[in-house]
Amino acid sequence: MFKDLFRKPKYVTVHADTAKKDIPEGLWQKCPVCNEIVYTKELDRDLKTCKKCGSYFKMGAWERIKATVDEGSFNELDAGMVSINPLGFKDYPEKITSAQQATKLREAIVTGEAAIGGRPVIIGVMDPNFIMGSMGSVVGEKVTRAAERAVEKSVPLIIFSASGGARMQEGIISLMQMAKTCGVLARLDKAGLLFISVLTNPTTGGVTASFASMGDIILAEPGAQIGFTGPRVIEQTIRQKLPEGFQTAEFMLEHGFVDMVVPRSQMKSTLARLLDLHSTGGYKNG
């Protein structure tokens, strides 16, 4: 790629051993895969992709939205919605507060109206940094409202998932969000509207076992961990080591649960093409 050629000289990398001593907080980050120390600003510009090994750093909800929708098109929905503590679970409100402070988000998903390649969509983006992107009442409700808005406006729905699963602290109420989100997707389906589900690292548990698996088209980011039960629990249950590459995006593609593995750099253009293919009315006999 030409772009990469021009970028390379500007890209600053420092080897781990020499840089370790004095890494100013936030200025540099270490690649979790190859341990390369990379400059945060460069990382942000390159869609959080490690230049050395090509693996992806986690992307926050707003970074993802910025990278995906047409500039200036995003109009957030239900921005103020926050969790309460349905089970009266000890320390849960504090956990929410500290997640809010750390991520500058209200909850683990941001939803809104936007355009991609000029086509209107309703989009939801989960943030893996907010209590592991877990789904409680707020995530369930915002996904449901996003789908309802898509039906109301008769536009496609796109959801980027990144989740450790249902939120334990909301117990059975979290489990019921699976039913709720699937219920509203049944309505979206009946309305003949497109739902594109994008699975990013990680998508597991109750999110995989509900709305994330119900896309008309399911895309996944390379290397993303995707599955139902976490690998540790499976290993403990079956007392067996898991095979290499188990529960990755590529594994899911091979087993028929994902349509396409799409690199981060091509995600927006892929979505735009898919939206374009669905933009003119389908053929109806008579």
């Binding site: 117990g171 059975i172 698996s213 039960t229």
Partner: protein, 319 residues
């Protein structure tokens, strides 16, 4: 009479043994001990009431998992007629952790589906401890769609620790199977009655529990995960399951208060396993009542109400 005893059941069972002894003695020796027996029986009853009146959530978990607790197969035998078991998901295989088929309930043809645990170790291995693979969930939805075609109400019994965590289960799409069931059940045009009869564990339970009417037996539990997994995930200590059960709000009363279930079906004194026939009678009455009500509701209204019921679950501040 139960053979396997939970710790808190012991005083009751010991007292009952004493009563039996007196009865035997009385008939052998032809001595009238009816007053003494009556006094002891009253004592046993009030002791049972006392112990069962203040069960902790963890004790209910133990009851819900009691090896002698009646399961789907028992209720099919005791409540339904003409049960015709159907097998397989038409995709990969037949999952013995889920049984389903056609039967008559109160004269009405219905489709009945439920999780099955084993009665002993060998049986449990066959039934995989009631933990469905994707095939089990796919069999369930196949039978439900068949029920829809022939206008049969669906009656489901939930009794699973959870969907099975294994390599094959992941390869064959455990998550997709559950998600598909949830989505399809939301638009199934026949009445669906789901009853948690023992353990309602996580997505595996939910996958057959999208009901117009969702009930729980008094001593059953229904939760996001087992208390062991909950303690392990949040506190890194599975041994704290007892404490987890206390804070998870997983008993029938908790779920009724949270608005997640519609009915608590009472159990005979001492729990379902102490009197299976009586339990079946009570359950049968509950099913009859809800089915009669649901069969009067037109399809579109039924679907609307089913969706709204689950749509309404969640607690948040709109901001």
């Amino acid at each position: 009479m139960a053979n396997i005893l939970l710790e808190f059941e012991k005083p009751i069972v010991e007292l009952e043994a004493k009563i039996q002894e007196l009865k035997n003695f009385s008939s052998e020796k032809e001595i009238d001990l009816s007053d003494e027996i009556k006094t002891l029986q009253n004592k046993a009853d009030s002791l049972t009431r006392e112990i069962y009146g203040k069960l902790t959530p963890w004790q209910r978990v133990l009851l819900a998992r009691h090896p002698e607790r009646p399961g789907t197969a028992d209720y099919i035998k005791l409540i339904f007629e003409d049960f015709f078991e159907l097998h397989g998901d038409r995709r990969f295989g037949d999952d013995p952790a889920v049984i389903g088929g056609i039967a008559r309930f109160n004269g009405q043809p219905v489709t009945v589906i439920g999780h099955v645990k084993g009665k002993d170790t060998k049986d449990n291995l066959t039934r995989n401890f009631g933990m469905p693979h994707p095939e089990g969930n796919r069999k369930a939805i196949r039978l439900m769609e068949q029920a829809e075609k022939f206008g049969r109400p669906v009656i489901s019994f939930v009794d699973t620790p959870g969907a099975f965590p294994g390599i094959g289960a992941e390869e064959r799409g455990q998550a997709e199977a559950i998600a598909t069931n949830l989505t399809r059940m939301m638009s199934l045009k026949v009445p669906v009655i789901a009853t948690v009869i023992g353990e309602g564990g996580s997505g595996g339970a939910l996958a057959i529990a999208i009901g117009d009417h969702v009930a729980m037996l008094e001593n059953s539990v229904y939760s996001i995960s087992s208390p062991e997994a909950f303690a392990s995930i949040l506190w890194k200590d599975p041994a704290k399951a007892n404490e987890a059960a206390a804070v998870m709000k997983m008993t029938a009363r908790d779920l009724e208060e949270l608005g997640v279930i519609d009915e608590i079906v009472p159990e005979p004194l001492g729990g379902a396993h102490r009197n299976k026939e009586e339990m079946a009678k009570i359950l049968c009455r509950s099913l009859k009542k809800s089915l009669n009500g649901l069969m009067k509701i037109p399809d579109d209204k039924l679907l609307e109400k089913r969706f709204e019921k689950f749509r309404g679950i969640g607690q948040f501040v709109s901001g």
